[in-house]
Subunit: 210 residues, 2 copies
DNA sequence: TAGATTGTTAATCGATTAACAATC
DNA sequence: TAGATTGTTAATCGATTAACAATC
């Protein structure tokens, strides 16, 4: 069995989203070709991805929608509520705190942490606590995943603190590339870099066509 | 000359960030090896990337920091203010509207658009306007890049409207995969998918180590 | 059976890396 | 000159795709 890489897992999420939409259209089974169209990949890619996870269909009959969905749910952790913490309740952090998409897809922010005392509250549905409480909170709740949304200069330090409390995966919005280690997966999202990318290709398109 | 792909441009942004930090440390020249360390890639990769863009160093002398920075600035559009529009001033949209990182790096949101009349304002530094005004506004200002931060069901329609006004590149936060076309580059960021990815690898790490 | 789709192998494609001649 | 680093080629690596036997 091949070890799946990041893009493979990303595709699995896309397949899952497509399947949910197809299920809403009363599809009972789907073919690799359907999913390929929906996710903008080739049918061979779909079958290859499934085979990596031992997801089997029926020759001639495609894949059972319900069966497929429950297997993908299992792989992507949708079979249980995923509790995470959020560090940095500023501009971006606040938006993530109230992002309805997380709730909808079984991801729950258990608590937020921030250095600014004016942000503290324990009465809201999601408590905002001081960083000093982070270590014990994460350990007590056995949380393994966190979001970093602090300024760049604080990001590395926050990461170390999280790791010391047992965090094993981080989604980082601070505009600095945090390095992955053997004991902690990191996914860096740099909003400026994402836009710079688009800016480059738009410029490149302009000069290509005059 | 090879056509650079997305990951190549992403690396260029990373190199640029590293160079800015090194310049702050009074570096006058850097070697491919320095940048490789700073950006977590190999030195060969750095030189390869530069050669794609005709960025030349000095054998034995490395690259001049100022020269390198200005060349990267040019490629990434940092030689001028980039004006963009934002569609959807909800939870995520509002955070992007006030994200200080854009301003800092020469990206300016010229206006926001939303269907909700209670959000309209023309007195703020960034006006919020109704979608009906979008087409003419984008044309008048000759804006080529936009951010989509609307609910999933509205995203495709917003994209069409943007394209009809001449938008050539889009950063999409709606949780639906918008398809790229020859005349418009798309960069999809799905916050749930990003977390699902981390959730998978954390789970995979757990079961691998027990 | 005839027709269609999976599962998988082999071929292809592209990106990364190693290595080294050029040269400062 | 001796030593170090670039720029580039060739080798490697890995991911995607085409193709087709298996089979429902």
């Amino acid at each position: 069995m091949n070890i799946p890489n990041r893009t493979c897992i990303m595709r699995l999420s896309r397949y899952r989203n497509a399947i949910i939409r197809l299920k809403a259209l009363n599809f009972v089974r789907v073919f690799s070709d359907n999913l390929a169209d929906a996710a903008s990949v080739t049918a061979a890619q779909v079958r290859k991805d499934f085979s990596v996870f031992g997801i089997a269909g029926h020759r001639r009959g495609g894949y059972q929608v319900d069966d497929l969905l429950s297997q993908l749910n299992k792989i992507l952790g949708k079979d249980q509520i995923q509790e995470i913490v959020l560090v940095g309740v500023g501009n971006i952090g606040k938006a993530l705190l109230h992002y309805p998409g997380f709730e909808k897809s079984g991801i729950r922010i258990a608590a937020g942490f921030d250095v600014d005392p004016t942000k503290y509250s324990t009465h809201e549905s999601i408590p905002i606590l001081p960083p000093e409480k982070m270590h014990d909170y994460i350990l007590a709740k056995n949380i393994k995943i966190g979001i970093i949304a602090v300024p760049d200069y604080a990001a590395q330090q926050v990461l170390e603190l999280m790791k010391s409390a047992g965090i094993k995966g981080v989604l980082n919005f601070a505009p600095i590339c945090l390095r992955e280690s053997a004991d902690c997966v990191i996914n860096n999202i740099n909003l400026v870099t994402e836009l710079e990318n688009i800016i480059y290709f738009v410029k490149a398109g302009e000069s290509a066509q005059g």
